[in-house]
Chain length 345, copies 2
DNA sequence: TTGAAAGCGGTACCAA
DNA sequence: TTGGTACCGCTTTCAA
C-alpha cells in the first residue's frame, strides 16, 4: 500500500525480499541482464517497497553526483530566471539536478558558493559571474579551472580560456545605436553599467563603435557609468539630462538601468520618444503593453542556459573534448515605441 | 601553492600529513577538542592541501545531507524568484544548499521532482504546488508527508495538514475590491485563475465576499476564469469587455492575468482608469514607471520564502516540534493609477 | 550469470 | 584525549 512504511531498507531490503543477492538487485537496477525470474522478483520488490536508490550512496561509490552547481548573481534580476530554466530543463532531461547559489553580486560570496559546489562534489558548474569584485575569484577557494571542476561560463567571459556561452553584446549594442543614428540622433547618451565584466564592456564598446562608424564625435559628456540598480540608473540619467544641449537619445546597458532611465525621463517631464528616445536592455512581455513601450535588446536567455548546460553535459560525458569552446548567441533588437526620430532642434 | 594539485587525498591525506590519526583529524574538523599541537598540524595540513570535506561522504554517514529541495512551478514567473531568494539566503546562513526543481505547472512532473528530492535524500522540502493537476501529488511517488519528508508548503495549502506559509489572499483581495467599491464601482469584474489551488480560490472568494458585504449583486456575468497566462488573460478580458453594460472595474488574480487584462483594455481602446479601473496582482518596480501605473496587491515574496525556510530548518533541528504550523503573512495593496473613480453613466 | 567482498570518504563508537 | 575500526548504501571487481 504505502511506498515507504517503516525504515527504508535500501537495496539490501529489495534483495532480501526478492530472494537474490545484493549484486543481482544492483545489476537489475542498473539495467544489466539478470536471469528472467530474478528480474521479475526484483521488480516486484522494488514496487512493493517503493524503493528509490539512495543517490548519496551512489555518488560516493561512483564518484559522481549527477548534480550541477549553478552560481548566479541574483535570481531576483529578471534576466536570470530564464537562463536558470534553460539550464534546469536540459540538466533534468539528462538526469542531473541543479543546486542554485546566489552570489549576491558579491565577489567574496561568490567564492563561498564555489566552495559549496566543490564540497558538494557537483560534477560541473554553470557560472554567471558577479558584477562587483569578480577579481576575488582568483583567490582561494580557487577559480573553477584551478579546482579542475568542469565548468561553463554564461553571459560574461572570465579572463582565462574557458567554455563559454554568451550573447553578441557588442554587435547588438552597435546595432541598437546605429538604429538611433539612422533615426537622426546625433547626441546619443549611454548609461552604462559600472562593472569590469566583459558583458558590460562589450556593450559599451558596441555603443562607441557605432558612434565612431557613424562619424559622430566621442561625446564623453553624454556617457555615464552607474551601478546596475534602478536608483543609480535614475540619478545617472538625471545627470545626463541636465547637460545642455542634452542628448536626444539614450542607450542603457542593463535591465535595471533601463528602468531607472525611463523613470528619470518621466521625472524630467520629457516625452518619450517625442523629445527623447531610448533603447534599453532585456525584453519582457509586459513591455508590449505598458507605456512607453520600450525598445530593447533582447537576449536569448533560455537558450543561453540550455546551450551552456548541453555543453557542460557533453564535456562531462566525454562526448565532447578539445579546447574551450565559445558559443556566441544572437541577441535581437526589439523595436517598440521608445525609439523615434530625433526632435528637430 | 595550488589548493588541489593531484588526486584529492581526503581526510586520510590530511591525517597523514599532520601525523595524526584519521579520527583526530575528523574531530578537529568537527570542532571538537584535540591536543593543541595536533590542532596546529592538522590546520596546517588542511590549508596546504586545500582540503574541503566531501559532503557526499559526510551525508552518507550522518544520514543527512544538509540540503533542501525546493519545487516550484516555474522560476520564469516573476513572483517566484523572490521567494526562492528568501529560501536560499536563509538556508545558506544555516549551511544548507538548495536544489531547485521546476515542475512546469504540471502535476506529473511535480511528482517526478518529488522523487528526485527523495532520491537525493534532501533533508527537507519547500513546496509551491503547481496550478494544474496538483491532485497527481496524491499518487506515487507519494506526497511529502507520506514520504515522511519534512516539508513546508508555500503560497498554497495542500488538502491535508502541513506546515504552511501563505499570504492573506482572501483578505487582500477583499480589501482591493472594497477599494474599488469605495471608488463608486458597482459592476466589478473578476478575471480569475482557473485553478483549484487554495491561493486562487481564496482570492476569488475575497472578491465575492467584498461584493456581498457591499450589498452588490453576485454578477456572475462579470466573472471569468482563465488559465494563468497572458494570452488567456487577454481573451478572457476581451469577453468581459464585450458585455453590455460592461464592468467599470476589473480585478485580476495573478500576475500574468494582470498583464493580459491591461493588454485587452488597451486593445479595446479603453482608457484606464478614466473608463475602466483595474487592480492586479504582484508588485514590481517597473510598475512605478510604466503606464498605466497599475495598482496591485503585493505579496511579501521574499519573506514568504525566508519564513518557510526558517520553519523548515527549525523542524529539522528539532528546535520546533508540535502540530503543523500555519504562518499567514500580510499582503499589501499598492495603489497606483489604474484604479480611479467609476465613470459616471 | 551470480554472490561475496572490497571499498567510496567520512563519522563515531569503543577500548586503551 | 587518542587511534582502530565498523559502518553508511551502493557499485564493481573477482572467483565460482
Amino acid at each position: 500500500m504505502s511506498g515507504s512504511r517503516g525504515r527504508a531498507l535500501g537495496i539490501r531490503g529489495v534483495a532480501e525480499k526478492a530472494g537474490v543477492s545484493i549484486s543481482t538487485a544492483s545489476r537489475y537496477l542498473n539495467g544489466k541482464r539478470v536471469r528472467p525470474d530474478a528480474e521479475k522478483r526484483v521488480a516486484a520488490a522494488v514496487l512493493e517497497l517503493g524503493y528509490l536508490p539512495n543517490r548519496v550512496a551512489q555518488s560516493l561509490r561512483r564518484r559522481r553526483t549527477t548534480t550541477l552547481g549553478m552560481i548566479i548573481p541574483d535570481i531576483t534580476n529578471p534576466f536570470f530566471p530564464a537562463v536558470v530554466k534553460g539550464v534546469e530543463d536540459t540538466a533534468r532531461s539528462a538526469g542531473f539536478a541543479v543546486v542554485l547559489l546566489n552570489s549576491g553580486d558579491d565577489g567574496v560570496r561568490e567564492s563561498e558558493c564555489l566552495a559549496v559546489v566543490h564540497s558538494l562534489r557537483c560534477d560541473g558548474l554553470l557560472m554567471i559571474m558577479a558584477p562587483l569584485g569578480a577579481h576575488q575569484l582568483r583567490r582561494r577557494p580557487a577559480a573553477p579551472h584551478e579546482l579542475k571542476l568542469p565548468g561553463v561560463y554564461i553571459a560574461t567571459a572570465p579572463d582565462f580560456e574557458a567554455d563559454l556561452v554568451m550573447a553578441d553584446d557588442a554587435r547588438a549594442a552597435e546595432q541598437a545605436v546605429r538604429h538611433l543614428v539612422s533615426l537622426g540622433h546625433e547626441r546619443i547618451g549611454c548609461v552604462a553599467a559600472e562593472s569590469d565584466l566583459s558583458v558590460h564592456r562589450n556593450r559599451f564598446e558596441g555603443y562607441r563603435s557605432a558612434l565612431r562608424k557613424a562619424g559622430l564625435p566621442e561625446q564623453p559628456e553624454n556617457q555615464v557609468r552607474a551601478r546596475p540598480t534602478v536608483a543609480d540608473g535614475y540619478s545617472a540619467t538625471a545627470q545626463l539630462l541636465a547637460r545642455s544641449p542634452r542628448p536626444t537619445a539614450l542607450f542603457a546597458t542593463s535591465y535595471r538601468l533601463t528602468i531607472g532611465v525611463m523613470s528619470a525621463i518621466e521625472s524630467d517631464g520629457l516625452r518619450c520618444p517625442e523629445q527623447i528616445s531610448v533603447i534599453g536592455y532585456d525584453s519582457y512581455d509586459w513591455q508590449d503593453v505598458f507605456h512607453p513601450r520600450v525598445s530593447v535588446i533582447g537576449q536569448p536567455a533560455y537558450l543561453m542556459g540550455a546551450r551552456a548546460a548541453e555543453l557542460l553535459l557533453a564535456r562531462l560525458s566525454g562526448r565532447k573534448t578539445g579546447p574551450p569552446e565559445r558559443i556566441l548567441l544572437q541577441s535581437n533588437l526589439v523595436l517598440r515605441e521608445s525609439s523615434g526620430p530625433a526632435p528637430r532642434s
